[in-house]
């Protein structure tokens, strides 16, 4: 009797152990898959107003109501092989860019808030950032192209055309320049670019944007208060015997 009881207890514990091991193994493989997929791409071009990628991935319920709402068939849902988290909306600017509807229907359609309803003005959306490959941009070769500038829905703010002088005997160039403070990343420029492979592309801002850092003070662009006492340098005045600090030892003749 007691032997039976201990056997059944032992069986029970073994089965519990087996069950736990199975769940843990399966869970680890599953977790690996999820993490792989969640970081499948650092950058998918999302509908306007989408949350940061990690929050977007957590919230998106993969229902495709934004795709239904998009009047230009811009948005697609990622299929398993798209290399983008499965079932989430994205678009490829070179195929169909975002035409920046003023009423933002995709945002209104989202039931979970993965596309953040806080966005009110489509011009404030940041789907990505346009960057120009100046080695392949026609304007930068000296041609008058500037198509991206003319097509840009936030023309003269997101893309300006600048005068770019060259050496004597060649005429100056007019080159497009992207301004990140206004570029929405809609991709109309990429779609319009006439080169064989677009020379202006929408990319993740983080991949290309640097950061100056606070320790550089650009004195000519900002009001830098003058804190140093320059009187100390004002040598040669009569009755002023105090030597100037720092560098003045160079003039003392002992060198």
């Amino acid at each position: 009797m007691s032997k039976n009881a201990s056997n059944s207890r032992r069986d029970f514990l073994t089965r519990m152990g087996q069950g736990t091991a199975l769940a843990a193994t399966g869970g680890l493989v599953w977790m690996y898959l999820l993490n792989q997929q969640a970081h499948a791409t650092p950058f998918a071009i999302r509908p306007p107003g989408s949350l940061a990628e990690a929050d977007f991935n957590a919230r998106c319920i993969k229902c495709g109501q934004c795709v239904d709402a998009c009047p230009y068939d811009t948005l697609k849902l990622a299929t398993a092989e798209a290399g983008i988290p499965i079932g989430t909306p994205y678009f490829i600017p070179k195929e169909i860019p975002c035409f920046m509807c003023e009423d933002i229907p995709c945002l209104k359609a989202c039931p979970t808030g993965a596309i953040d309803p806080a966005l009110e003005n489509i011009d404030d959306s940041r789907m990505g950032l346009a960057v120009i490959d100046i080695e392949n941009c026609l304007s930068w070769q000296g041609l008058r192209c500037e198509i991206c500038h003319r097509e840009c829905p936030v023309k003269d703010k997101a893309i300006t055309v600048e005068h770019h002088p060259r050496r004597i005997s060649k005429h100056a160039m007019f080159v497009p320049l992207v301004h990140s403070d206004a570029c929405t990343g809609c991709g109309i420029c990429e779609k319009a670019c006439p080169t064989q492979k677009a020379a202006i592309r929408i990319v993740q801002p983080d991949l290309v944007q640097g950061q100056i850092g606070d320790h550089y003070r650009l004195g000519w662009t900002i009001d830098t208060p003058i804190t140093q006492d320059f009187k100390a340098y004002d040598r040669g005045k009569k009755g002023d015997d105090t030597p100037a600090p720092d560098l003045d030892f160079l003039n003392e003749g002992s060198l």
Binding site: A38, A58, D68, G87
Partner: protein, 313 residues
């Protein structure tokens, strides 16, 4: 035409046990297939409504008919519906979805409370068509299971889904769900999701009978749990049952048939029952029928009738 001497097997109620016979006539067959045909009509009809709305711009009263997909949708532009399991996973990632998704999930849960949780599995889920096909072929080819596992394992998968949603910060099942891949890709464009569906089909066909829907699917497990108290049940009329077990043979979740428990409660009480109605159509005694829980009263086989019949036999 039976020989006189052949012993007739009697059920516990004293009546002879009769097998289910498929009617010869086409109308007779249609009557037997009535729930099957309704289920397919609903499954395909919903997919068609979703597809028509997004691809062909179907409108009713100026509003899109049914936008989205089975994860979350909107009917006529104002009735939201959301998969409560998906919403639960999103909440566990630490994000609170907008009101629309929450109300949508509440609406589905309210429907579940009336018609049953796993009713979704048999009547709406498109993977049901794939696994039913696998099940049909394996029955015809008489394929044996490669191994047996407990049907309770789905509750472990369910628990794992919830834990992994917390740990990884993404809705764990939604990211690997073959159900999602199937309806998403049918509605929004075909991708590689068919490979996962093929996997489910082959698993059900060659490895384990009712392997996906009956053993692994955490969505089914979720609906089995939340649908346990639902109104719509298969009522069990004890006095007419001969225990021929035709219902058990045709049931994709045969563990739900427990004659003792069914006699006691007067119904198939398990949340794992998908309300597919197969058992109703094959029962030769009309013992089973759909009914609401509140109308169901258990009916005992009275001791006297039973013993009288036993004696007579």
């Amino acid at each position: 035409m039976n020989k006189v001497n052949k012993p007739v097997k009697l059920g516990p109620n004293g009546r002879p046990v009769r097998p289910f016979v498929m009617p010869e006539s086409f109308t007779g067959k249609l009557i037997v297939w009535r729930y099957l045909l309704l289920r397919r009509a609903l499954q395909l009809g919903l997919l068609l409504l979703f597809f028509g709305t997004v691809r062909w711009g179907w409108k009713l009263a100026g509003q899109p008919v049914l936008t989205g997909n089975l994860s979350s949708s909107e009917f006529l532009g104002f009735i939201p519906m959301s998969d409560p399991f998906a919403v639960l996973q999103i909440i566990l990632t630490g994000q609170l979805p907008l009101q629309e998704a929450l109300i949508g999930a509440a609406i589905i849960l309210a429907i579940v409370a009336v018609i049953g949780g796993r009713t979704w599995c048999a009547w709406v889920c498109p993977v049901n068509m794939v696994t039913d096909l696998a099940s049909r072929i394996r029955r015809q080819l008489n394929i044996k299971d490669a191994f047996k596992i407990s049907r309770k394992i789905r509750y472990s998968v369910l628990a794992l889904t919830l834990v992994l949603s917390i740990l990884t910060g993404v809705a764990a099942f939604e990211w690997v769900s073959p159900i999602g891949m199937l309806h998403r890709e049918l509605i929004f464009g075909i991708g590689a999701g068919w490979i996962a569906i093929l996997g489910v089909f082959l698993f059900d066909l060659l490895i384990l009978k009712n392997g996906w829907c009956g053993h692994l699917c955490p969505l089914g497990a979720f609906y089995a749990v939340v649908g346990k108290v639902a109104q719509l049940r298969i009522a069990f009329d004890t006095p007419t049952c001969t225990q021929c077990c035709e219902c058990v043979k045709v049931c994709p979740e045969p563990q739900v048939f427990n004659f003792k428990a069914a006699t006691k409660t007067g119904m198939i009480a398990s949340g794992e029952c998908t309300n597919c109605g197969r058992c109703i159509t094959v029962c030769p005694e009309d013992t089973l029928k759909f009914d609401l829980r509140q109308h169901i009263k258990p009916q005992q086989v009275t001791e006297t009738t039973e013993s009288q019949q036993r004696r007579a036999a």
